[in-house]
Symmetry: D2
Subunit: 362 residues, 4 copies
Amino acid sequence: MNKTKVALLGAGFIADIHLESFLRFVPEAEVVAVYTRSREKAEAFARRHQIARWFTDLEQAIAESGCDVVDICLPNFLHHRAVMAAAKAGKHVIIEKPLSLTLEEADEMIAACQAARRKLMYAEELCFAPKYERVRRLANEGAFGSIYMLKQAEKHSGPHTDWFYDINQSGGGVIMDMGCHGLAWFRWMLGGRPRAVSVLAHMQTGLIHKGRTRGEENSVVIVEFEGGAIGIVENSWAKHGGMDDSAEVHGTGGVCYADLFQGNAALTYSEQGYGYAMEKAGSTKGWTFTIFEEAFNQGYPQELKHFIECVRENKEPVVTGEDGRAVLELIYAAYRSAGTGQKVTLPFHAKVSKPIDLWLGG
Amino acid sequence: MNKTKVALLGAGFIADIHLESFLRFVPEAEVVAVYTRSREKAEAFARRHQIARWFTDLEQAIAESGCDVVDICLPNFLHHRAVMAAAKAGKHVIIEKPLSLTLEEADEMIAACQAARRKLMYAEELCFAPKYERVRRLANEGAFGSIYMLKQAEKHSGPHTDWFYDINQSGGGVIMDMGCHGLAWFRWMLGGRPRAVSVLAHMQTGLIHKGRTRGEENSVVIVEFEGGAIGIVENSWAKHGGMDDSAEVHGTGGVCYADLFQGNAALTYSEQGYGYAMEKAGSTKGWTFTIFEEAFNQGYPQELKHFIECVRENKEPVVTGEDGRAVLELIYAAYRSAGTGQKVTLPFHAKVSKPIDLWLGG
Amino acid sequence: MNKTKVALLGAGFIADIHLESFLRFVPEAEVVAVYTRSREKAEAFARRHQIARWFTDLEQAIAESGCDVVDICLPNFLHHRAVMAAAKAGKHVIIEKPLSLTLEEADEMIAACQAARRKLMYAEELCFAPKYERVRRLANEGAFGSIYMLKQAEKHSGPHTDWFYDINQSGGGVIMDMGCHGLAWFRWMLGGRPRAVSVLAHMQTGLIHKGRTRGEENSVVIVEFEGGAIGIVENSWAKHGGMDDSAEVHGTGGVCYADLFQGNAALTYSEQGYGYAMEKAGSTKGWTFTIFEEAFNQGYPQELKHFIECVRENKEPVVTGEDGRAVLELIYAAYRSAGTGQKVTLPFHAKVSKPIDLWLGG
Amino acid sequence: MNKTKVALLGAGFIADIHLESFLRFVPEAEVVAVYTRSREKAEAFARRHQIARWFTDLEQAIAESGCDVVDICLPNFLHHRAVMAAAKAGKHVIIEKPLSLTLEEADEMIAACQAARRKLMYAEELCFAPKYERVRRLANEGAFGSIYMLKQAEKHSGPHTDWFYDINQSGGGVIMDMGCHGLAWFRWMLGGRPRAVSVLAHMQTGLIHKGRTRGEENSVVIVEFEGGAIGIVENSWAKHGGMDDSAEVHGTGGVCYADLFQGNAALTYSEQGYGYAMEKAGSTKGWTFTIFEEAFNQGYPQELKHFIECVRENKEPVVTGEDGRAVLELIYAAYRSAGTGQKVTLPFHAKVSKPIDLWLGG
């Protein structure tokens, strides 16, 4: 079996998860190179994971690594540059959320990949998380009748890395970080490409990261889709006690509650604590919710396996650049709604250098 | 001990709960009369509960029963008339939610009781539900730091009685029925009389009661309070599987989840089913959440005991007519927001014959 | 209403709970006196709870307090003396678990109360805990078909008071402290007075209280009843993280899980901690299970109200001295089984100065 | 990559799970043949799963399929014959639980594989279930201090296939079916090969399968290990409402609760039901616990991947024939204890034609 060659761009938290996923669950792919700015980090990452080559130049990593696929795990503000370079070099692309900082960037990225006849997958792992996928199939079996409300929440106590607190690098706060997941999941649950008709949002800042970020730390966004179903997405960077990732489906014939972290965990009490409970768990003394197979249960291996299969068998990914763009449009609308206190109707477009300007007034 | 005499107005679901609460937990009170329109129902209720007298005339029940206190468990559209009659007769009043159909009615009711120097308690049992009260005391102990978000949900599959589906009798849908609880609880959690600055709302109808009601069947309302804390209240008449009543507190120093029904229940699997699991549970075959001490855990006895104590010891109730009016104002604003898609700032007033007109356009 | 006068013997943890229960939920009773050995503690307890009289002499407290009822919340080794004195003085008796140290004592206590024509209630609060009572009624409704297995567990990290670690004062370890609850509950669930046919037991010591007690710290006891149903009771003094009190019913037609503490709690995460979560909870920083209405949910007020009603209306208590004796017989058999590794058949009797001698070889 | 060739013996429930596991998670192996007695079933299974060859003769399947590995998913009474044939043919063996009907068979099977220098893995998937493995690593990290009690339960409403109800084919009831899992898990948790010193057991029959089986339908077994730690395993074929597979770890420094099914599930309410909730769930109307990735969460793919790796890299499996024999010895002792009402000390041996004879008196 000839393996599909992957260049991994980025060497942070999410790159680690992608790498573990490839190694354990996607034998038909091989990570042949890693890129990160720092020479020491690049070299260490490559050595630790036995990756053949490492780069500190983005374009070089793409063009010279001999890869078929570029896997982008970079800070948001580098997404556009990396995709454009990959398209130019004729590489398939899978890219972490959010797709880009602006809708203009998104349009260029999609167009470039199309022009190069290369696949562009938007790596929304919630479309592959096995518990959520089971729930989606339940919905498709008719278990809940007609869906009138979806809810999704992702919450923790703030990003791992500094750049996300700088809105110029991230484009915004917790919605840019985690809200994009719920918004993509609503679309996936409602058949993949439902038409959104309006967005209402409320945002808060200055909660536990005052002085560190101007991004929103807590948000609630209500999206109305054609036909009347709504999605409510709640996100927080101000929630202590470990990561929350949970979803609800409300239909005329039933209801479903799915919780990926606390809802899968072993319940532990330890006098002296232990190594790791879950993302952002804080202390492990006392009661904790101990999770397992974190990457698998969030859908990362399944997502990557799917994309490698798309590349190898020339199939269309279930989540594409267009989906990533649609999510970004909802984020634009959410910031605008938070800024004006009004429902924003879709399609929505505004010319800004980053989404959060629509709330903060740029 | 001379007992405080109570006339119970109404003989439906909630009247039963009040009566059980008085009998088991408030020995210092005695229900001396019951009123309901139907002679048969009145007589049967009185006989079943060994109440000395029954009436089919509202004003007579108030004036001639020899009561000290009038306990109003009537359909919404009768609230104003009953309170006005009680005030005129010099009786103390405890009244079920919502306070009234209109803000004008509310103002008259409050003024009449004040003029008569009689107490008017707004019977918000969530201020007395022991699990929620424990959570409130935690908050006051500083367990959560500064509260930035409260959530409360009440959901089931629709009211027990027909009149609630008729918006002319009820004034609206699920918000008039259950949303008022969460709105009152937010105020209670934030110190009793916080200033609300704005309301955002989204509502849905035609879900599982299409043709039966024009009231909203599902709603989400976001209230922003002075200082920036928000309350999100979710309500539904389209949620199968039994009553949901749950709350969350999110603060800069912690978080808390409290669930009054599923969260207190015994988990039961029965092949052949049994009598009663919880409110609106539907079938009791298969898995069910079996609750216990339903009235106590919702705070009804504690609420009634508190009011009787207020009457006997001339204290101020913790929830008054003014609180009921403030909740109604939030409901007005919610309907207006749902109608316009815009954030509504408070104080808000509009002249309508019932709150839902602000959404449906009267 | 003339109140039934109660003398409370004991001023420790459980006496506090009884007192709170009387005050809040049993208006027809009045605690008129408290006894405890220490003058300072007696006086302080009486002052704190506004009890008219306090005593430091046991027999005097019974004979001179003017009480109708003696409520015994004393260390195990004083149970016999207190009941004999109460019977002699013509008082009704309610007594905390376990009934006594030996079967001989139990027989004398029962005989003395019978001779004096006074009621002797064995205060097994699990027969009154509302969640467990709901489960029992479910069983009686036939929800589970024929019951073939009951399970009950009580676990925490060890008693509040020193005397319980001294087996000469307590008679044994965790079974004497908490196992008696589950054993009594099995009998109650199976109709009150089922015939037990055999007992199997395993015990462990030296876990977290090594050097402090010779009593068993962890135990599992299997009781077989006539007809084949079994009860498995698990108890521990070596379980961190707060009190566990939970039960299961397994029948040919269904199953039920009921948890009094974690299963009723609000789930809390606090960065800085707070006052009190639940019995033996340890630190309240991080995740905790916050309980509420602790006494009510364990059935103390209901139990005391029942006994006062029995006294006032001359009814038979649902749990009597005979039930307490039957539980003690099961405890004897459990220690013998742990000592011999053999199933012990009932009825069982052996002459020992305390139950645990049957295991440790006294 | 040359693939390791596997002959799958059996085409029932568990064979399906193994096959799915190989296909999705063990790309280094290939199932090249399937055996089952019935020609139609064999052919259909092979066609459905695109397996190259099918056999209706056991020895032929082993000898002529060209396999490297024999994967035994057969009824218990065929285990010995299949392993002996595999060893004779020089094949590596992985075998489903229980290892065999008798200790004599077990000894022969182990000796035969050793003589043939072939690996014999005892397929205890609980040693690979990711939630349980996380818990084991927690224990090894010292999170619970010194372990003094383990608990494990597997329960459902009875086997899929008829042969298991016939004790001559199965060797016993629910302990032979599911008890073996918990017993193996205790050993794994305590370091792999702890010395067991005694066994106490109680068994019940005639619950919901009266007339259908003489095997025990409900059982509790207490195993004491050297050093004093105990394991309590509970098993049932009389538990409605879907599969239960749960474990507890009790240590001097903490406690842990892990539940593989309800504890991982999405909580669903459906008016009209849906296809599949979990093993033995019964109806899917009303409330159900919907599971996902059933094979993965029970550890089947991980177990098979591990064995293929052992074969390819000549490593020792973590669970071997000796472990399977040790579990069978505990089962012997459990039946003897149930038969005599006495603690049985280990090592234990008795000459019987099937384990349950030690209880029923063969």
